[in-house]
């Protein structure tokens, strides 16, 4: 694996941690338990009578049964499946058991015995029905939300990054920007909502502005602090070698500040989510926030829960993307948090 030529320090360590924690190719007991749990869930769904007419009970039972069968096959014929997949699935084993148990309990207290009052508590098949029947509207909402979020976030992050570098680098910029930032920055972006909605020509542009504002503040502050705390000796080294000011900013200050910039981008993303949802509930007539509001208006609680689930997946997906980008750019850093 490591010829003498390419031997690097720390490589032995990397190999040791990367080595797969032996997915022993034998019988997978946890998989068998999970398979049993999902089959029990399937049986509960199909054989106990529903309290009401649910359209998707059959489909839910089939999905649960198929899951159980697939898990059973994996438990027995694991070695025939590519090892990478087996390792991942086996790692998820205990979670698969817990999920099946939770689904069964949820099914029992809602669709079967209505221990939790309807319509506030939706059953699994009711939520499944939202995905099978209302997916065009949900998908469109995700698209609208992503478009609005991306516009505002990119503007806010770019402006925040540039102004953070400028404040950190130039004393003159800092003199004027610092008091402004201190006064305006901590103000929650949602406080601008009434003002923004009449100052901007459309609720869409107003929301873009608010999202940019919410993103821009943490990105500015953390970029600034990253640039300001760069080891001064890094500049001395570059200056003695004939570096221009431009080189000092682009090739020394910014790369050195990047870990801090990413903390800002992460915080900005979180802030942008909350502004996005508020903006969509208050003015923009599209997106997941609007869908939530709309579903609540019609007392369509299953739709509301589904939208919440989709929103959670969207947010965690975006944060995962950000962390991936960071891992790629900051591979030189030790001890990065794994998202």
């Amino acid at each position: 694996m490591s010829s003498a030529k390419s031997l690097r320090p720390g490589e032995d360590l990397a190999l040791a941690t990367a080595a797969p924690r032996s997915a022993s190719p034998g019988f997978w007991y946890m998989g068998a338990i999970a398979a049993g749990a999902w089959l029990v869930f399937a049986a509960v769904v199909s054989f106990l009578p529903d309290i009401d007419d649910f359209d998707r009970t059959g489909l839910l039972a089939r999905i649960a049964a198929v899951s159980g069968v697939v898990l059973a096959l994996l438990a027995v014929f694991g070695p025939a499946v590519p090892r990478a997949i087996v390792t991942r699935v086996r790692h998820a084993g205990p979670w698969l058991v817990l999920l099946a148990a939770a689904f069964t309990a949820w099914e029992l207290v809602t669709a079967k015995f209505t221990i939790l009052p309807r319509p506030f508590f939706a059953s699994p098949q009711a939520m499944l029905e939202v995905f099978t029947d209302d997916w065009p509207r949900l998908g469109l909402s995700v698209g609208h939300s992503l478009r609005l979020l991306a516009g505002g976030y990119v503007i806010g992050a770019s402006v925040g990054f540039v102004s953070g570098v400028a404040i950190g680098w130039s004393r003159a910029v800092g003199y004027w920007a610092h008091p402004t930032l201190r006064l305006i920055g901590p103000l929650p972006a949602t406080a601008w909502l009434p003002l923004a909605f009449f100052a901007f020509p459309s609720s869409y542009s107003a929301s873009t502005f608010l999202i940019a504002l919410a993103t821009g503040f943490p990105v500015t502050v953390l970029t600034w602090s990253g640039v300001a705390s760069v080891n001064k000796a890094y500049y001395d080294v570059a200056r003695t070698m004939g570096a221009s000011e431009r080189f000092l900013v682009l090739k020394v200050a910014i790369p050195a500040a990047l870990p801090s910039v990413f903390v800002g981008l992460f915080m900005g993303l979180g802030a942008s989510f909350s502004v996005l949802v508020v903006a969509e509930m208050m003015g923009v007539k599209a997106g997941l926030g609007w869908y939530l509001q709309w579903a609540q208006g019609w007392a369509a609680y299953a739709n509301m829960y589904s939208a919440l689930l989709v929103m959670a997946l969207m947010c965690t997906g975006l944060i995962t993307l950000l962390f991936r980008a960071r891992d790629k750019l900051l591979a030189w850093q030790k001890g990065l948090v794994q998202w």
């Binding site: 080891n231 003695t240 070698m241 990047l258």
Partner: protein, 262 residues
């Protein structure tokens, strides 16, 4: 481990004149003098050690020679030209390697060429310098993967690609373990001998100064003034056990008031 840079058979060293240099820091509105009328001349190709107690201002003097700061009074000349700012012919090797953690070893060594836009035409020098310090196999490693001695070697290679005529060494071996330090002292001396640059070495290690340098300039406590200027007229390679080195060491320790238990 040390071999000559193939493409540079004999770089000329620069001469240095330090003329009545005084310097003071501004500390809470009060002026703190660190250098007091320091004057000396350094011939081209010399290796001069600046020796003095900790915090006496010798590193400050080196920063002035590097052009990182202007002196409060006096002037500094390299090859009879006034020093007005930093220049790649006067690179500094600092006590800390100060490698950029986001750059690989190779990219760190390329820094000077990249900063001056010479990477495309003279990129081969990077590999030469890495070979020179014996780290060719580590070109793609990141600084956090290196030991202290290896990092300091990379820092040396990063200085050498700039073809310095006056290499400024700011206690470059001060933080290394004693075995690595001894090895690198020998390596620096033979590098200096082969390449012909001048070198100014700041150190507080008396033995290091007399082992490596042609001349040892002993500085007083802050504000630093020159106490003595001692020729070390011994040929290279030197032997650490040489009784003449021991005599010089005792003499210098005496100047520093540290000979009580000798």
């Amino acid at each position: 481990m040390v071999t000559a840079l193939a493409e540079t058979p004999g770089l000329a060293g620069a001469s240095l004149d330090v003329l009545g240099v005084s310097h003071a820091f501004d500390l809470d509105g009060k002026s703190l003098p660190v250098l007091d009328h320091v004057s000396f001349h350094m011939e081209a190709g010399e290796l001069v050690a600046l020796l003095g107690p900790s915090g006496c201002g010798k590193s400050t003097l080196l920063r002035l020679v590097a052009g990182l700061e202007p002196p409060s009074a006096g002037s500094l000349l390299v090859d009879r030209q006034a020093i007005t700012g930093p220049h790649p012919s006067r690179v500094v090797m600092f006590q800390d390697p100060t490698l950029y953690p986001w750059r690989t070893v190779r990219a760190n060594v390329s820094l000077g060429l990249e900063a001056r836009g010479l990477l495309r035409t003279r990129g081969g020098r990077v590999d030469d310098a890495l070979r020179l310090v014996g780290l060719s196999h580590f070109a793609t490693a990141y600084p956090h993967q290196l030991s202290g001695g290896m990092a300091q070697r990379v820092s040396l290679a990063r200085a050498l690609v700039n073809d310095p005529t006056l290499l400024l060494l700011d206690e470059p071996l001060g933080k290394l373990d004693s075995m690595t330090r001894l090895t690198m002292q020998g390596e620096l001396v033979s590098l200096w001998q082969r390449n012909g640059f001048s070198a100014l070495l700041v150190t507080h290690d008396v033995e290091e100064a007399v082992f490596m340098a042609n001349r040892v300039i002993v500085l007083s406590d802050r504000p630093a003034a020159i106490k003595a200027d001692i020729q070390v007229d011994l040929p290279f390679p030197r032997h650490r056990g040489d009784p003449r080195l021991a005599d010089l060491r005792r003499e210098i320790l005496g100047l520093l008031g540290l000979d009580a238990n000798w």
